[in-house]
Symmetry: C2
Subunit: 401 residues, 2 copies
C-alpha cells in the first residue's frame, strides 16, 4: 500500500467531547447522537514543505491528502473531482460596488458539489471494509453516492422522495445503485430509510451522520484559500443551505487554517434558504441553539428542500462564529438569478447556486454586505439538468396556488 | 493591457500554403477556401523556463497562453475551462489486456469540449473587434458560443437543426443568444445559415471556417502530454468524430511538441463514427483525399451527426500521419457503452464519448489495438443532458423502422 500521509488522529463530538477511534467504521456520537468530527495531528504538518509540494500535485481535492481521512491511496475512488474555478462576475446592478466572485462546482463529476463529500466518504468506507452503503437524498447526493460506489465496487442503495426530478432517479440507477422512491420530504424519507435498513449491515451515508463526507466538503474552504492566495480571502461567502455540510465544512477548513497559523480573519458565512423552507435562517434570527423542523416546506431548488438538517447545532455555530447570518429568497428571485447569471456572466448555475446571487439585494439593503467588499458566491451544481421553462412554470403554478 | 506573451506569427493554409496576416479577422483561406492554421514562433519558446512556469499557473487551458492566439489578457473570456481529468478505467471485458484511460471533458463549462474552442475563438474575436458572431451547430457548439459570447459581451446567433435536443435550444437562449431553428441536417442548416447571414457583418464561427476554435481544441493534446508526463504518451487515442476539429487539434499539438523536440512518437489517432453517419471512416477506408457527404445520416449521438465535415482533408491527414484509422459503432453499442462506463467505472459519458468505449471490441478484434497497449478514450461531453431511457427508446424505434 502507498500511504497518503494522512494525519488523521481520531473522531470527536463537538457537543459532548466524546472521543471515538477513527480506524473503525463510525456513524454518530455514541454518547449524544450528534455528528462526529475528524481530528488531525496538525502539529505534524510542516507548512513550508507541504505547501511547496502542493505545486506539483494534480488539481483534485486529493491534493490535500494529509488533511483527509484516507490512509492508503489504493482505497481512493476518484473521478477527478475538485479544483473547481473561482470566476470573477460582472458588477450586479443589485450590488454595484461589491466585487463578486463565483466558485463554480457545476463541473464536478455527477454535476454537483456532492462529489466532494462522496469521493472521500466512499473511499474511506472502502478502506474500512464496508461493502454496502445507503443514503436518503434530495437527488444530487444519491447520484454522487451511486457513481462513487460504482467506482469503488461497493453496493449502494439510494432513497429518494418521489418528487425528485426524474433525471436524478435515472442517473442513480444507471450507475447500478438500487433506487427506492418514497413519499414525503427528505426528512420523512430519511426516517423511513433508516427504519427499513435497521441494523441490516448497510452503512448510513447521510449528511453529518457519518464523519467523512464533511471532510470532502471541507476542501471547498481549502480550495478557496489556495486559489485566492494572491488576492486574499473574501470578506464574505454566500452559501445555499440545505443539509448545511458545506458551511460546516468550510468553517472546519478555516479553523484548521487558523490552527496552522495561516488565517487571521475568517470570511463571514451567509446561509441562503428559500422563503418556504428556511429552518436555518429562522433559527439564526431566533437565536436558537438548534433548528426546529419546517412545516410544509416547498421550493423549486431540490437541494434546499431540507426541513430539518441534522446536527444543526454545528451549522448555526459555523455561521455565528464567522459573524455571518441568514437570508431568504423567493423562488421567483431564484429563477431570475438563473437568468441573470447566464446573460450577464455566461454562467450556468443550479437553482441552489443561483439563490446566492438572488440574495445580494437583501444583503446589500440590510448593510450586511458593504461597498468595496469582496463576496464569494458558491454555485453548488450544474444548471444542465434544469429546464428554465420548467422552473418558470413551477414558480407560476405555485404563485397561482 | 497585460500581454499574454502569445507567439502567434501568422495564419497559413495547409493546402495551398497561402499566408494570411493574423491580426485582422480572417475566416477560410482566400485562395482555396480551406481552413487556415495559426503558426507560432516556436523558436522563441525557451522550453526549460516555460515548462517550469507552468507549475504555478492555474489549471485552465489558458496556462498555454504563449501558444494561443490571444495577445492581451483583458480580451480573455474564460469560464474556468480546461484541465479536465484523465481517469484510469477498469479493464474492459472487450479488451482485457489493454490499459484504458479516459480524458473526461464532461465537466467543462456548458458540459462539453466545445468550451475549449469557443473560449479561445470568442476571446480572439473580441480582441479583433468583432461585435456579432454566428454558428450553425448540432447543439453543444451553439450552447458554448452562447455562453462565451455572453461572457464577452458580444452578440451571438445560433442556428440549430430542428431535431436538436430541447435542453440545448433552451440553454443557448438562456445565455441570451438568438436561436434560429431550421429543418435538415447540420450540413443543410450550415448552408442556410451562411446564406441568411450573407455579408451582413456577423462573423462565421463554424468549425475550421475560422482559425481559432482549432487552437482551443489543440489544448486537448497539450493537456494529455502534460498530464501523462510521468507515465508517457498513450499508444493510441480514440476520438468520437463529428466535425473532427479535435483530431486536427490534437494532431497540431503533437506537431508543435515535435517541433519543440518534446515528442518522438505520436499516438495513433482513431476516428470513431456511428455506422449510419461515417463519412470520415469511409474516406479512410477508400483512401480518399477528402470526405464525400453521407446520405441520409442518422445516429442517437447529436454531436456525431455531421454528414460532411469541412476541411476534411485535414482530418484525414491527422489520422493518416499518426498511423491510426477509422472505426464505426452501432447506436445500440453506444447505449451499451454508456451503461457499461457508468456501472463499471462510475463515469457519466455523453453518447459521443461512449462511442469510443464501444469501439474497443472492433479495435482489438482487428488487431489495431494490441495487448499491453495504453489507450486513451476521449469523452467529449457530459452525460447529464441525456436520458438513458430516451436513448434506448430511440435505438428501439430505429431498429423497428
Amino acid at each position: 500500500m502507498t500511504g497518503t500521509g494522512s494525519l488523521l488522529s481520531h473522531l470527536e463530538c463537538r457537543s459532548c467531547c466524546t472521543r471515538v477511534e477513527a480506524d473503525r467504521a463510525a456513524g454518530v456520537c455514541p454518547t449524544c447522537g450528534l455528528a462526529l468530527f475528524a481530528v488531525y495531528r496538525l502539529d505534524d504538518l510542516d507548512w513550508g514543505s507541504w505547501s511547496a509540494s502542493l505545486r506539483d500535485r494534480p488539481r483534485t481535492l486529493w491534493r490535500y491528502r494529509e488533511l483527509l481521512p484516507v490512509r492508503g491511496s489504493e482505497a481512493i475512488a476518484s473521478l477527478g473531482e475538485g479544483g473547481s474555478p473561482v470566476l470573477p462576475l460582472t458588477a450586479a446592478p443589485e450590488a454595484p460596488d461589491v466585487r463578486l466572485l463565483l466558485k463554480d462546482d457545476g463541473g464536478l463529476p455527477t454535476g454537483s458539489f456532492k462529489a466532494r463529500g462522496m469521493t472521500v466518504a466512499v473511499s474511506r468506507a472502502r478502506e474500512l471494509g464496508l461493502r454496502s452503503l445507503f443514503v436518503p437524498s434530495a437527488g444530487n447526493a444519491g447520484v454522487a453516492l451511486a457513481a462513487y460506489a460504482a467506482r469503488a465496487g461497493i453496493n449502494a442503495t439510494v432513497y429518494l422522495p418521489e418528487r425528485t426530478p426524474r433525471p436524478m432517479k435515472e442517473a442513480a440507477r444507471l450507475y447500478g445503485a438500487t433506487v427506492v422512491e418514497l413519499p414525503g420530504t427528505l426528512r420523512e424519507v430519511g426516517a423511513s430509510a433508516r427504519s427499513r435498513e435497521g441494523a441490516g449491515g448497510s452503512f448510513d451515508m447521510s449528511t453529518l451522520r457519518e464523519p467523512y463526507r464533511l471532510e470532502g466538503k471541507k476542501t471547498m474552504g481549502w480550495e478557496i484559500f489556495e486559489q485566492l492566495a494572491a488576492e486574499g480571502m473574501p470578506d464574505a461567502i454566500v452559501y445555499p443551505t440545505g443539509g448545511g455540510t458545506g458551511l460546516v465544512g468550510m468553517h472546519k477548513a478555516f479553523q484548521e487554517l487558523r490552527s496552522l497559523g495561516r488565517l487571521e480573519r475568517m470570511p463571514r458565512l451567509y446561509a441562503v434558504q428559500p422563503e418556504h423552507c428556511a429552518p436555518v435562517v429562522r433559527a439564526l434570527h431566533e437565536d436558537a441553539a438548534r433548528v426546529t423542523p419546517w412545516d410544509d416546506p416547498s421550493t423549486i431548488a431540490p437541494g434546499l428542500l431540507v426541513p430539518a438538517p441534522f446536527s444543526s447545532e454545528r451549522i448555526l455555530e459555523a455561521v455565528r462564529e464567522s459573524k455571518g447570518g441568514g437570508v431568504t429568497v423567493t423562488d421567483a428571485e431564484i429563477v431570475g438569478a438563473v437568468r441573470d447569471l447566464a446573460r450577464r456572466d455566461g454562467v450556468s448555475a443550479s437553482p441552489e447556486g443561483a439563490a446566492t446571487y438572488a440574495s445580494l439585494r437583501a444583503l446589500v439593503r440590510d448593510g450586511r454586505v458593504r461597498s468595496g467588499e469582496r463576496v464569494l458566491l458558491y454555485n453548488t451544481g450544474s444548471g444542465l439538468p434544469f429546464s428554465i421553462t420548467e422552473l418558470e412554470s413551477a414558480v407560476a403554478a405555485s404563485a397561482a396556488a
